[in-house]
Symmetry: C2
Amino acid sequence: MREILAKIGDKWSILTIMMLSGGTRRFSELQRGIEGISQRMLTLTLRGLERDGLVTREVFPTIPPRVEYTLTPLGRSLQQPVIALGQWVVANLPEIDTARRRFDAAAEDRGGN
Amino acid sequence: MREILAKIGDKWSILTIMMLSGGTRRFSELQRGIEGISQRMLTLTLRGLERDGLVTREVFPTIPPRVEYTLTPLGRSLQQPVIALGQWVVANLPEIDTARRRFDAAAEDRGGN
DNA sequence: CAGTATCCCGTTAGATACTG
DNA sequence: CAGTATCTAACGGGATACTG
């Protein structure tokens, strides 16, 4: 369970699932949509999701090549929780930021590093 | 947002929040409840959650010392999404496991190392 | 009890270069 | 386009020892 949570909860996995919630996407679309992800990490993330049965990978042998990723039914069942989490983060980002500044300022006062 | 997700999505944070969903807990209770966490990681995780305003830390200057951790309102607002995620994992663990074995077996066939 | 302080190693992720 | 391969710096996290 720890291991599954670590994988599902992984930031790249969450962002990828959020992207795929909008429907089938190509590799390059995902990379453009997920800010900051490297080619390597996108590949590894997609392989992991595929392995866990959350995503299917379909290759079109055209030139140039084209690969499409789609959520499986299992993957879609994960949408609700994951999107809820994502929305929570977006909604509460300002409050977290404030809390951090307060915490850091207090640490500073106590003789911060 | 990436950074917040990375922190929230962290396995220890999720498990800690799940533990604290049951109410206020002492340091040692948390350590016993979260299987596999080290003293160091529990301390670091709690500091992070405290910094982000999700958890409060209350020290009782008794002998022996006693420290209690409680979810803040912000932390409690995170309960729903986090617990939903945890429940999804528990509910779908078998299916994920099956998918993995299938995937690994297929890789094996294709000459997987 | 509830930490803090070190040491240290394995994994991870970013950058870069190459390919079917 | 959609990867794979390789190298390396950074980080995570365990073990251990010490303390208010």
